[in-house]
């Protein structure tokens, strides 16, 4: 139990935090390098875990009298998401380092947040999950506070209030899960032995769901999302982290479904309805956005609708697809945010109505377009596999909702292409600033995610192999369907 | 006893009230101020008293309470020797703290 591999997840979680503390004392001159190095190291640790085929459950009694344990495990879905997180944080740091004037605090915040996020994915104990869940919030808030735009206070309050509203209800139901079920501790392994039954389960599930619906986000609780993205720093770096922070789908998949099987079956139709509606509604709103960030925000929301649909459907294919999509939409949405950042750096605005960028910055345009294709699930790119298998699976559960959701893909194509076309093609307005094309690191920043998207778009087996057993394990608890 | 005593007073007052002459005049009913017209002062007109009197009053309250505590101890004293002695000593010492304090604070200086 003391072999190095068991410590790897812990290392992967807390390495970034150490890094962010380290950054506070490192001199300005090579702060960026340190940050990048730490992030890379974290990613390395993640890859090491992957090579080892996931880690064992590592458990240590954190607060014995309260039955709160520090139990972490990275394997299957959680590992995939952790890897993506590590990667995107690394990329975000790369971009932040060259784009943001005084990046010191931002870098440490990114790292701090990475800790929270990886922690969320690794946690196998409800309280631990909650703790990390809230930890990730603080850096996110600080990023917005320190680098945000004028309207940020409103956005901050909205964001925090929504999150806390959800998570505190979740806290109450976490307490409920343990005491009504009579479990000795909050560790998933114990909780699964002592499930709550009856109507209490439904109530607890709802409490849990509120938090997750905020973080998905799901339709009525999504209002914080666009403001959050719009008010954040133009470079789009915080948005990347924000995107990674959308852990609702994962939370429901890992915790809610196993703990509230009956309730999740019972509420399935309603929730799937909500999800489908979210997807369509978000796409529809996105269509009318003229600000790239809001557009991306709603696009992301729409994808989350898909993810939710998949997760709620409790169908193996769909769930796998949902996790797949969840993982990779982080890649392309994040990358898109960064590309928007680059665009803004060049033309000084986030308007989707400036024309003719393509003529001067071909590479930027090209890469952005490719990423958009990934986003709207063009076959051959990772997005497609996710969305397709979600629809496939969900169809077996409820065809109609699936059909509604299906429409979304078309809507997505619509909003993405119009916005892209307005910005990159069309005539260049007279007297507009000349736009530089991509320079050194920017290439990497956009190319790496794209590369991965392509790779897993055509050769999805490794990812699927990673996820399938985990999903099977979860769903088998429901007695399949 | 109390009744009788108060009775006496009341009777006396009534008696004089009945028997005494009533020839009031403004000057007669004016507050005595060595012949000058009285200025403000007296009931309800918010005359200020020197704060020293408040101090005396408070000190009195405190020390009187202390006496009140001492009486039962004194009565029961011989039954509780020697415990009571140490009690008394502690008590008086604590009292002395306060006494020394007001002494040093010059509260007891009517100058």
């Amino acid at each position: 139990m003391n072999s190095f591999t068991d410590w790897l997840p812990t290392l992967m979680i807390f390495l970034p935090l150490l890094g962010s503390l380290l950054l506070l004392v490192t001199p300005k001159t090579f702060r960026d390098e340190v940050a990048g190095f730490i992030a890379a190291l974290t990613l390395g640790a993640g890859l090491a875990i992957w090579r080892g085929g996931g880690s064992e459950l590592f458990r240590w009694d954190w607060i014995p009298p309260l039955g709160i344990t520090y139990s972490v495990q990275l394997g299957g879905v959680s590992l995939a998401l952790a890897l993506v997180t590590a990667l995107m944080s690394f990329i975000a740091i790369l971009y932040a380092a060259r784009r943001i004037p005084n990046p010191g605090p931002m870098l440490s915040l990114i790292l701090a947040m990475e800790t929270g996020l990886i922690g969320i994915f690794a946690a196998q104990d409800l309280m631990l999950f909650y703790v990390f869940f809230e930890d990730a919030l603080i850096p996110a808030l600080l990023m917005l506070a320190m680098y945000g735009k004028n309207g940020r206070m409103a956005a901050l309050v909205k964001f925090a209030a929504y999150t806390l509203f959800g998570s505190l209800l979740m806290l109450v139901s976490i307490i409920g899960v343990r005491y009504l079920g009579g479990s000795p501790s909050f560790a998933m392994t114990d909780l699964k032995q002592h499930l709550v039954t009856g109507s209490a389960q439904t109530w607890l599930y709802l409490g849990f769901l509120t938090a997750m619906a905020v973080k998905l986000p799901l339709w009525p609780l999504h209002a914080w999302l666009p403001d959050f993205h719009e008010q954040n720093h133009d470079s789009g770096v915080p948005d990347v982290m924000g995107t990674l922070y959308k852990v609702g789908g994962y939370g429901i998949f890992t915790f809610a479904v196993p703990l509230f099987p009956d309730a999740s079956l019972e509420l399935r139709p309603i929730l799937m309805g909500l999800a489908a509606f979210t997807a369509l509604y978000a796409a529809w709103i996105a269509f009318r956005q003229t600000n790239w960030k809001r557009l991306l925000a709603y696009a992301g929301l729409s994808h989350m609708g898909f993810v939710a649909l998949g997760v709620f459907s409790l169908n193996e294919t769909a769930v796998i697809g949902a996790m797949y999509l969840l993982a990779f939409q982080n890649l392309y949405t994040g990358a898109l945010f960064l590309s928007v950042g680059m665009l803004q750096e060049r033309i000084g605005s986030l308007e989707t109505r400036v024309g003719g960028v393509m003529t001067q910055a071909g590479a930027l345009g090209g890469l952005t377009m490719a990423l958009w294709f990934a986003s709207i699930a063009v076959p051959g790119l990772a997005g497609f596999i996710g969305e397709f298998s979600i629809l496939l699976g969900a169809y077996q559960v409820s065809p109609w909702l699936t059909f509604i959701a299906g429409i979304t893909t078309i809507a997505a194509a619509a909003y993405a292409l119009t916005a892209f076309q307005h910005t990159f093609w069309q005539a260049r307005p007279a007297g507009a600033v000349t736009v530089r094309d991509l320079v050194h690191t920017e290439w990497l920043i956009l190319a790496i995610p794209l590369g991965l998207l392509v790779l897993f778009g055509v050769y999805s087996t490794p990812a699927l192999n990673l996820m399938q057993p985990a999903v099977r394990a979860v769903l088998s608890a429901l007695g399949g369907n | 006893m109390l009744l009788v005593a108060l009775g006496i007073g009341i009777i006396a007052v009534l008696a004089s009230a009945l028997l005494g002459p009533k020839k009031a005049s403004r000057t007669k009913l004016m507050a005595y101020e060595s012949g000058n017209d009285p200025e403000r002062g007296g009931v309800g007109t918010g005359q200020r008293f020197p704060v020293h009197f408040y101090l005396v009053a408070m000190l009195f309250i405190i020390f009187d309470i202390e006496t009140a505590f001492f009486y039962p101890l004194a009565v029961a004293y011989q039954k509780l020797i020697p415990f009571a002695f140490f009690e008394a000593v502690t008590f008086v010492l604590l009292l002395l703290v306060g006494y020394v304090y007001i002494l040093k604070k010059k509260v007891l200086e009517w100058a």
Binding site: L66, M146, L156, L164, Y179 | -
Partner: protein, 482 residues
């Protein structure tokens, strides 16, 4: 009938040490500088804390169970002393600016602490009452001592309401005595289970009256009106003291009386639940509207009364443990936050929330510390405030007051919002000139703040350091003594 009571002073050691400090500052004040006195008092407090450690696990008692240095008493006493220490450290810096730098200030402070400790050590309603009154009376003086118009008014308000509160409490005490025929917690506790109807009626009446009385002291709504005025009007260091140490002591009293003596008395639980619900709502919503940071903290103190009170709804075992943990955390974080206010404020009004914009770029250390305190107050992990909240939620939840827990969860969203605003403003860069006292960053205050922040963080990451002490259930099962 005249038997000599056994009066061993050993269990009183912590109290006596503090009292010695008080007396010394009463008398030596004429010869020594006030600063020296403060150092003496700090010494006394530390010594007393050590003696608390020394008394641990001895479970002594004195005066026929009237004074008991059991685990609960020692734990609560330690919390009180911690708060006192931080207060003293802060006054070292700010007393001059607050124009309260004379020996009487320290004397009164220490007397108040003596009272607080008496409450924590009480095994008997009379001792509790004496402690409570010593504490309250000294606090009235402390609140007034500054002599400024605001301070005097706050003092008067505090005094009048506090006195009324004590009167109600004493009346309740009389009824409890009437119902059980004793003032000793243990006897009351055993009598309460076996009572004939009309005595039960009297007991319930008494319990409720005492509840109201304590409500005044700990500022449960609707008895909280004095709190913002007093905390806002008194010198900040005093507000610090009142909102931490005094409140802790009052809660210690409630713990002793309600979870201890009156635990199986009927009726008061539900009333307390209602009061707490009111407090949570009033405190949090009122705090939302505050523009002055100090007043906001005052209201947040009210709100926290609600959270702390939830612990009393739990079973003595769970609730006591929760309260024991939360009180320390609450003291640390509130004291640290107010210490920073005291250090940085220009006038005793404290500063308005908007003045805090960009604090991070002027006083990075204090800003980060304050942010930590606020996060902890808001109950965000990994800071200790979160576990405090969690524990009280759990305590109330387990004892069948789930609705209070849910309400508390909802209100703490409001709480988050008003903690968030200043917390975030501090990190927003701004160009305007500083609006706080530039030279505020002094060693003792910094030390106090460091204590608080370190405590909050460490207790958040490893709650067991303190929780392991308080978690022992039979500590709280014997609140009333045996």
């Amino acid at each position: 009938m005249l038997q000599v009571p056994e009066a061993s002073l050993t269990p009183l050691l912590p109290i006596l040490l503090v009292l010695a400090g008080a007396i010394s500052s009463t008398l030596l004040g004429f010869w020594l500088s006030r600063r020296t006195l403060t150092f003496i008092n700090i010494g006394a407090v530390v010594a007393s804390a050590l003696s608390v450690g020394w008394l641990w696990n001895r479970d002594l008692s004195s005066f026929g169970g009237g004074l008991r240095a059991d685990h609960a008493a020692l734990l609560l006493g330690f919390v009180i002393l911690a708060g006192t220490l931080m207060t003293l450290l802060v006054t070292l810096d700010t007393a001059w600016r607050a124009r309260v730098a004379f020996p009487e200030f320290d004397a009164m402070l220490m007397y108040a602490v003596t009272g607080c400790l008496l409450i924590a050590f009480s095994g008997d309603l009379i001792v509790m009452l004496i402690g409570l009154e010593i504490m309250s009376l000294s606090s009235y003086v402390l609140a007034t001592l500054q002599g400024s118009r605001r301070a005097e008014e706050s003092g008067l308000k505090y005094f009048l309401l506090g006195a009324a509160g004590s009167a109600v409490l004493i009346y309740g005490l009389a009824f409890v005595y009437g119902a059980t025929g004793s003032l000793n917690y243990a006897v009351i506790a055993e009598k309460t289970s076996t009572l004939n109807p009309e005595n039960t009626g009297i007991l319930v009446g008494g319990a409720l009256l005492m509840l109201c009385g304590f409500g005044f002291k700990v500022a449960l709504a609707p008895f909280h009106q004095w709190t913002p005025d007093v905390y806002g009007g008194a010198p900040t260091s005093v507000s610090l003291f009142l909102s931490t140490v005094v409140k802790v002591a009052a809660f210690a009293g409630m713990l002793r009386v309600f979870s201890g003596a009156l635990d199986n008395a009927p009726g008061w639980h539900s009333v307390l639940a209602v009061l707490i619900a009111a407090t949570l709502i009033v405190g949090n919503l009122a705090a939302l509207r505050q523009t002055n940071f100090k007043r906001m903290l005052a209201y947040s103190a009210v709100a926290h009364t609600g959270f702390l009170g939830m612990a009393l709804l739990g079973t003595p075992a769970a609730g006591g443990a929760a309260l024991g943990y939360y009180l320390l955390v609450y003291t640390l974080m509130t004291a640290a936050a107010l210490a920073i206010v005291a250090a940085l404020q220009r006038s005793e009004e404290g500063f308005s929330v908007t003045d805090m914009r960009g604090l991070y770029y002027r006083h990075p250390g204090y800003a980060v510390a304050l942010a930590v305190c606020l996060a902890s107050l808001a109950g965000l992990p990994p800071f200790a405030g979160f576990f405090g909240k969690y524990l009280v939620f759990q305590a109330a939840f387990q004892n069948g007051y789930a609705w209070v827990s849910v309400l508390a969860a909802l209100t703490s969203v409001a709480a988050l919002v008003y903690y968030l605003r200043p917390g975030m403003l501090m990190f927003m860069p701004d160009r305007t000139p500083a609006r706080e006292y530039g030279l505020g960053q002094r060693a003792p205050t910094t030390l106090a703040v460091a204590l608080g922040v370190a405590g909050v963080t460490v207790l958040g990451l490893l709650p067991n350091l303190w929780y392991a002490f308080v978690a022992h259930p039979d500590i709280w099962a014997m609140l009333a003594g045996r």
